[in-house]
Amino acid sequence: MPYIPHTTDQVRRMLDVVGVDSMEALFENIPASMRPKSFDLPEGLSEDAVLNKLSAIADMNETGKASFLGAGFYDHFQPRAVRALVSRSEFYTAYTPYQAEASQGTLQAIFEFQTAICRLFEMDCANASAYDGGTAIFEACMMAIRKTKRSKIIIDEALSPIYRRMLDTMTSSLDIEAVIVPHANGTSDKAALAAAIDKDTAAVVVQNPNFFGVVEDFSDLAAVARENKALTIMSVYPVLASVLKTPGSMGADIVVGEGQSLGLPLSFGGPYLGLMTCTKALVRQLPGRIAGRTEDKQGRTGYVLTLQAREQHIRRAKATSNICSNQALCALMAHVQMCMLGPVGLRRQAVLSMELARYAQARLTAVHGVEMLNDAPYGNEFAITLPLPADKVVAALAQQGVAAGFPLGRYYKGLENALLVATTDKNTAEQIDRLAAGLKEAL
């Protein structure tokens, strides 16, 4: 059955009313050159046949591999209750929660999410989330440009290449000068970053841990930025933020992150969750929704979307940003995850992930020819160098049911033999032993 309910007779009668004699004639005002030559669609199938076809494709997925893939996205344990709670229809089907009188539950959930993220990053203000970590970085740069009225952005090359590519794309038609400061063998070159900051700099953009998994302390850099009246934008991995020195205590002005690791599953590229926080001084530049807590005339607590005067439905062209949505359900998921784990659980998750990384490091570097890329401190992810191109080794290990890691040569020239290996609380010592054994065999 085609999904067009009209019979040939009904179509002909409608054409008669309009006064044309065929569908072709109905569209003749559209020049032939602007019409698709073909929609290149296969013949229709029955619903059953489509289901069979799709499940056959789905069966080709190799699930259940031992995964050491990180590179910004991490497979952490999610308590089963998280999904059950966010699947409640009040949350699952909610649309725009603008109307405080009808959306107290959603607004309270957003407010609590913002509070949790602020505490995790030790920052003053958070928004209700952005689309993903990369969008959050772009919006953070725009905040800095508006606030400082300057247009130069200093970017650490150890910032995720995915984010750097997104920034490139999103700023390509804007008058922004981006200066990339090369990494130093997988560590952030903090001296060079500091030296690059000048009177025209709006912001310096760094990541902790950086893309190579290296844990950095950017306090001194943030101080140099402040001396030059530039802002420090830091992208952080939220699970590790529970144990590392917080970005707020390092003096960051805007802190963003990919919230996927807070209880969102890895599912072929999304949906993701952009976390976005700033100091109080910058809150009017913070894009997107912000839920606030207030009191009504009788003194009863109520939740509202606040600071609306920054937004495009009020300020039009002068709006802070044209983001007018957020990842509400994903933000709720992250919030429920944080509540289920609690601060202690979140730290345990981080510490376990880091302990497994140390076990993995010991096992992998014991394999002949495998070495650490550098000896910098790391969190739950580290880079090793191999005697062979890393993508070949990854392909070989995939045959053994192990996703060995992320080949760094894909984004960094000269690092073709380097492999980024991540562990989370979901990995086991047995999986790491399999990875080490597989690596030994592949080399």
């Binding site: 009017r284 005067a309 920054r310 009020i314 300020r315 002068k318």
Partner: protein, 126 residues
Amino acid sequence: MIPDDLLYTRTHEWLKQEGETALIGITHFAQEQLGDLTFIELPAPGDTIEAGEEMGTIESVKAASEIYAPVDGDVLEINEDLESSPELVNEDPYGEGWLIRIRPSGDLDDLLSPSEYADLVESETE
């Protein structure tokens, strides 16, 4: 509420000459139209302003509006009390709620007299 010792703009700012310098604010009519003010963004001392150009922003509970410079000039001082108490503009737009002090470098001839401004307000309220 249109003091007769001030000059006015068509965009509802007022200017008060005080010797070599001048104070700038927004009128009673403007603050009434905006409603409760929540935030005021002003230029910084040392900045220059240009007649008719935007020199700041006023946010109220329902809108955000631009403040336009009545004349060319250099900003000498800003009303720092407004940072924590923007409601001063609602309460006393011609006194405690002044916005900035400038040294005018341009001509004041294009500004409206109190009676001209009264006509403008009348036409806008009709």
